[in-house]
Subunit: 161 residues, 4 copies
Amino acid sequence: MMITFIQTGGTIDKDYPHTSKGWAFEFGEPATKRILEKLNPSFKYDVVTTFQKDSPDITDDDRMSLVALNNKGNSNKFIITHGTDTMFETANFLKKHIGNKLIVITGAMRPERFSNSEAPINLGCAIATANLMDKGVYIAMHGIVKECTAMKRNLTTGKYY
Amino acid sequence: MMITFIQTGGTIDKDYPHTSKGWAFEFGEPATKRILEKLNPSFKYDVVTTFQKDSPDITDDDRMSLVALNNKGNSNKFIITHGTDTMFETANFLKKHIGNKLIVITGAMRPERFSNSEAPINLGCAIATANLMDKGVYIAMHGIVKECTAMKRNLTTGKYY
Amino acid sequence: MMITFIQTGGTIDKDYPHTSKGWAFEFGEPATKRILEKLNPSFKYDVVTTFQKDSPDITDDDRMSLVALNNKGNSNKFIITHGTDTMFETANFLKKHIGNKLIVITGAMRPERFSNSEAPINLGCAIATANLMDKGVYIAMHGIVKECTAMKRNLTTGKYY
Amino acid sequence: MMITFIQTGGTIDKDYPHTSKGWAFEFGEPATKRILEKLNPSFKYDVVTTFQKDSPDITDDDRMSLVALNNKGNSNKFIITHGTDTMFETANFLKKHIGNKLIVITGAMRPERFSNSEAPINLGCAIATANLMDKGVYIAMHGIVKECTAMKRNLTTGKYY
């Protein structure tokens, strides 16, 4: 099995390269790299970055670049880390444009840099989905994994279900 | 969805309650509790302990107590945290005795207490499997999730594949 | 020995209570509480909050409230967690107004919530200073502990020395 | 300032390089290296290993090798990470043999690999002591820093005070 991990930004990848004269809260290296180093996985993978954005700022042009990446090459399993606010928009867009690949969108409520982040658990959910499913667009958040059109979100608590 | 998490011991739950006059490396509270607290999941769950053993010490009587627990009550999805050395033995035993439930066996190469543990990723893999599969006995380790009879292990590296 | 820990804001206490519709990066509970829980110290202590501000926003009125707190009661040893950009201003202000107490100002370059934060090390430096010194205003950062007028900072790297 | 960090074993450096066929709980790389990487200190340092032992196994020959190391070269400040059960013995031995250097002995109740370890706090205490003191043998544990003959330990709780 080969999985391509794609960084698009979002909370999961927020880092804090503070020096002096004010603080910065910026996107850093893909958190997936640090998580996969801990996992020492038996599958093959690569990690690529398409863009680094808060998810409300992602445009359909950005999403089209994701489609292009997913259709290029011969990888068939993709895990996209993504901000939590427009996961549905990206999922539906990809579902419309990509037929025969397996795509899992995940992210985190707290940056992976945080010691209490749930990012490693979510990425585990996405990885298992890549093992078990052949095609379709899935979302994995809050311990729930569903085909994207079946997933819902409580906008008050922010929780997917 | 309702998941029952079962603690049986193994590396994942090793803790270090050192005081004075020598050190102790003992089993502590189920690591699943700490991981699920970070996840804040949208599914319902409970966490139970059947026994706390290094997996080479697990007997078929112990395994029969797991069967009894899984058959009792109306929960249909079980995630068992387990030492890494006899996962196959336990998986095959459960497969023989339990027909219509979904069971995922997972664990960790480093205690969940370690900051570089892969336990949260593995538990994520198990949780996604509980979402996506209806019945059968699965093993989730090293980013690989397979029905237990399809899983293999490299005994030199210790890696499942 | 009794130490009073004072929260004033700054990077060390940045947390990330993200829900939906955008992210928030806000001050949370004093990080000192979580660090002291790990330490299980043999000294007595309390933890109080005077204000929660990025340090460029701290005013002399704020600093006067610190003076008032330090002069009130019979505690003689204070550790103040503080943003890194105006530590000198606060230290000099306290030095001018407080004569016979021991005050250590510390903080962190990365939030204590980060798994790669140096906050626990810095707080350790401050605690040892409270053990070893009787009075005066000290700064503890980057592994350097000095009376505040002897401390310097490289504004390019942000490092104290 | 230049500090020499010396690894001698003990709980602080316990690691868990588990593969298959039983687990191992062994000494690994000096934890000080990982802690100093987080600190990004302004002082100069080196990290050396004299031996890797549980502290009840340390002999006076081992301690003499520490004396030799401390007397060699022109470094004057030493921080020794050490098991918690014979800190007094080592401290008194060094005090007898070394006159004009500053030595701080510290360690941890839980391995530095543990996410709830107090090792970074203790090392911070030791580093501040190296900043503030010129000579003598100190112990830093449980947030208490004292010249070694003034330190005590509660053998029931294991806590230094």
